[in-house]
C-alpha cells in the first residue's frame, strides 16, 4: 500500500500573512492507509498548516498535490468535496440535536414528494447508528439520543464516522485527544486505527507524544513554522521526540541555561527570546 502515490502531498509550501511568515518550506506526504502525525508545541504553526490543507488558506508559495496532480482549493467546501475532511476538537457536532439529525445535517434523507418531503428519521437514525457501531462504538445504539449526552470520545468518534460515511479520503484530526481522559483517548485512537485499516489517509495533529506513537506511521515535528524533523515509526524514542518539540534542546539543557543566566544576573530570569 505504501509505495503508491501519496493521496495528499505538500511541496515546499510557504504561507505568510503580510510580512509575517508562518510556514516555511513545508513538504509532507500522506498515503492511503497511513497515519501522519504532526507534532508541535503551541504556536508552531499547526493550525495554519491544517487550514492550508483544508483549503481555508491558500499557500503563498509551493504546491499542493492530490493523487499526484497539483490542486488549488477555492475554499474549504471544495477541499471537502475532493475528500479532505477536518474534524475539530469537538467535531462539528451539535450538542442539543439527536445523533441521527446531527449526522445528516445538510444532507438529510427525505421521503415523500413535492412540498411534503419529510425528514426520514428512521433511516437517518439507522444509518448513523450503524456507521458509528462499525467503528467499534457499540454503546451508541439509539439514534434519538442527544449528541451532548455522549462522552467526548464518543462525540469524536461520531464526527469521524460521519466524515468517513460521506466519502472522506483524507482525515485531518485536529487535537482529537487533547481534552479527553485516558480511557476516552484510547477510544479515539482505536477509531484512528480503524480509519487507517479502511485505507484512509489520516493527518493526526497532537502535542501528546504518547498518543502519536500509538497510531503513527510517519512523524513530522513542526517548530516555528518549519519541519524540524521527519522520521518514520520506530526511528526515535519518546524522549527524543519530546525534546525535539521543545525546540531541539533537551529540557535538562534548558534548565541549566536558565540557571546559569540567573546566577550571572543577580537572580533575574532571562528576557524572552527574540
Amino acid at each position: 500500500m505504501s509505495d503508491n502515490t501519496p493521496i495528499l502531498e505538500l511541496q515546499n509550501v510557504d504561507k505568510s500573512f503580510g510580512p509575517i511568515d508562518v510556514l516555511h518550506n513545508i513538504s509532507l506526504k500522506v498515503r492511503a492507509g497511513e497515519v501522519l502525525c504532526l507534532l508541535g508545541d503551541n504556536g508552531a504553526g499547526k493550525s495554519t498548516l491544517i487550514k492550508t490543507l483544508a483549503g481555508v488558506h491558500k499557500p503563498t508559495r509551493g504546491t499542493i498535490l492530490m493523487d499526484g496532480n497539483p490542486v488549488e482549493f477555492s475554499g474549504p467546501r471544495e477541499a471537502q468535496e475532493m475528500g479532505i475532511s477536518t474534524v475539530h476538537q469537538f467535531g462539528g457536532t451539535f450538542p442539543l440535536m439527536s445523533i441521527g439529525r446531527s449526522f445528516f445535517v445538510g444532507v438529510e434523507p427525505t421521503k415523500g414528494w413535492g412540498p411534503f418531503k419529510v425528514y426520514d428519521r428512521k433511516t437517518a437514525n439507522e444509518i448513523a447508528v450503524k456507521a458509528v457501531q462499525d467503528f467499534g462504538i457499540t454503546r451508541i445504539d439509539d439514534g434519538d439520543r442527544l449528541v451532548g449526552g455522549l462522552s467526548g470520545g464518543e462525540r469524536q468518534s461520531l464526527a469521524i464516522a460521519r466524515a468517513v460515511h460521506f466519502g472522506a479520503r483524507v482525515l485531518i484530526l485536529d487535537e482529537p485527544t487533547a481534552a479527553l481522559g485516558v480511557k476516552q483517548a484510547a477510544h479515539v485512537l482505536r477509531i484512528v486505527n480503524e480509519a487507517k485499516r479502511r485505507g484512509l489517509a489520516v493527518v493526526f495533529i497532537t502535542h501528546q507524544v504518547m498518543h502519536a506513537m500509538t497510531v503513527g506511521d510517519h512523524f513530522a515535528v513542526l517548530i516555528r513554522g518549519a519541519i524540524a524533523a521527519d522520521f518514520r515509526r520506530g526511528e526515535k524514542t519518546r524522549e527524543e521526540i519530546t525534546d525535539l518539540m521543545a525546540g531541539g534542546e533537551t529540557m535538562a539543557d534548558l534548565e541549566a541555561q536558565i540557571e546559569s543566566y540567573m546566577d550571572a544576573h543577580e537572580g533575574q530570569p532571562p528576557p524572552p527570546a527574540q
Binding site: 462539528g92 451539535f94 446531527s102 445535517v105 419529510v118 425528514y119 445504539d141 442527544l146 449526552g149
Partner: protein, 332 residues
C-alpha cells in the same frame, strides 16, 4: 422505539410548557375561585393567545436559529396603519392595502436579515434599530399623509370574514389562522430538512455552514417571516376593529419572548419545539387575561408572569439536562 414512554415525554422540549399551563390553571382554580367552565368558555384569553401566538411562532423559530427579532413591536402598528392608510384613507381596494401591509413586513424583514448576515452586530441591536426606525416612519408617514395618528378603515365583507370577524360572537377568526400556522410551522420545523437546518444553525452556526447549509439565506428568510407575521397580525386587527392607531404593539416584544421561553425554547438557540411555542402563548394568555375571571386583583398578574417565567426556565433547564444525560438503560 416509537412508543411514547413517560421518560420520552419528559425529555421533550414542550414538557415544561405543559406543566406551566396546568400549574397556572390549577393556581387560578384553587386560589382565584374561578370555575373551569367559565374560563374555557371565555374568548378574551384565546383571542389574546392567537394574536400573540402568530407572532411568537416565527420569532420562536428565529430564537431556535440563534437570533432575536424585537422589531415586531413596531411591525404590528405598521401593518395596521399600512392597510388603513391605503384602503381606508386613499380608498384603494382592500387587496392593495393587504399587499402593502405584508410587503412592508417583507421589506423590514429583508433589512433585518441583510444587516444580520452582513454585519457582526447582534440581532438584538439591529432589530432594536429597526424597531425605533419603523415606529418613527409610521408616525411621521401617518401624520404627513393623513394628518392624524389614527385612521378608520371600512373593510369589505369577504375580508372581514377571512381576517376579522367574530365567530359565535366572541372568538376572533384569527384563532383559526393561529391553529393553521401552528400546524404549518410544526411540519416545517420537525418534519422537513429546513427544520433540521434551523436547529443546526442555532446549535453551531460555523459547523452548520461547513456542512453546506445556506445559513445566510435561511436567516434572512426567518427574519422576513417574523416581521411579515407581525404585520399580518396588525392587518387583521385593523380589519377587525375598523381602525388603526400608530401606537401599541410594544407589549408584544416582551410577551412573545416570555411565551417562547416558557414554551421551552433555549434563548441561545438550538433547542425548542413548535408545540412548546404554541403552549407558551396559551399559558401566557391565561395568566394575563384569565386573571379577570378570578377573585385575585388583576394588578398581581405581572408578578405571576414573572414567577412563572423563572419557574418555567428552571424547569426547562432541568428537563434539558435530563434529555442530555439520557442513555438507554440496558447499557448503563
Amino acid at each position: 422505539m416509537n412508543s411514547l414512554s413517560l421518560g420520552q415525554i419528559l425529555r421533550r422540549p414542550e414538557f415544561g410548557a405543559v406543566l406551566s399551563f396546568v400549574a397556572v390553571i390549577t393556581f387560578y382554580v384553587a386560589f382565584g375561585g374561578v370555575s373551569l367552565g367559565t374560563l374555557f368558555g371565555a374568548a378574551s384569553w384565546v383571542n389574546f393567545a392567537a394574536n400573540l401566538g402568530i407572532v411568537a411562532l416565527p420569532v420562536g423559530l428565529l430564537m431556535i436559529a440563534g437570533e432575536l427579532d424585537i422589531s415586531i413591536g413596531a411591525m404590528i402598528p405598521a401593518g395596521s396603519m399600512s392597510i388603513a392608510i391605503l384602503s381606508g384613507y386613499y380608498d384603494l381596494p382592500i387587496v392593495v392595502g393587504m399587499l402593502g401591509a405584508l410587503g412592508l413586513g417583507v421589506l423590514v424583514g429583508l433589512a433585518n436579515g441583510f444587516l444580520a448576515v452582513r454585519t457582526s452586530v447582534p440581532s438584538l441591536i439591529i432589530t432594536l434599530g429597526t424597531l425605533v426606525a419603523v415606529q418613527g416612519l409610521v408616525l411621521a408617514g401617518s401624520v404627513i399623509l393623513t394628518g392624524a395618528a389614527s385612521v378608520p378603515l371600512e373593510a369589505p365583507t369577504w375580508a372581514k370574514a377571512v381576517f376579522g370577524q367574530l365567530i359565535l360572537g366572541k372568538f376572533q377568526v384569527i384563532i383559526l389562522w393561529w391553529f393553521a400556522l401552528t400546524i404549518v410551522f410544526a411540519f416545517v420545523l420537525h418534519a422537513t430538512r429546513y427544520g433540521n437546518w434551523i436547529f443546526a444553525m442555532g446549535g453551531d452556526e460555523v459547523s452548520a455552514r461547513n456542512a453546506g447549509i445556506p445559513t445566510k439565506r435561511l436567516k434572512i428568510a426567518l427574519f422576513v417571516l417574523s416581521s411579515t407575521a407581525a404585520s399580518f397580525v396588525g392587518m387583521c386587527g385593523a380589519i377587525q376593529f375598523n381602525s388603526a392607531q400608530v401606537s401599541g404593539g410594544m407589549n408584544y416584544i416582551f410577551n412573545t419572548i416570555v411565551s417562547i421561553v416558557v414554551g421551552g425554547v433555549l434563548l441561545t438557540g438550538g433547542f425548542g419545539s413548535v408545540v412548546g411555542i404554541f403552549l407558551g402563548a396559551l399559558t401566557f394568555a391565561v395568566v394575563n387575561q384569565g386573571i379577570y375571571f378570578t377573585d385575585i386583583d388583576r394588578n398581581w398578574s405581572n408578578l405571576i408572569i414573572g414567577v412563572m417565567l423563572m419557574a418555567a426556565v428552571l424547569m426547562n433547564n432541568t428537563f434539558r439536562q435530563m434529555a442530555l444525560s439520557y442513555a438507554p438503560k440496558k447499557k448503563k
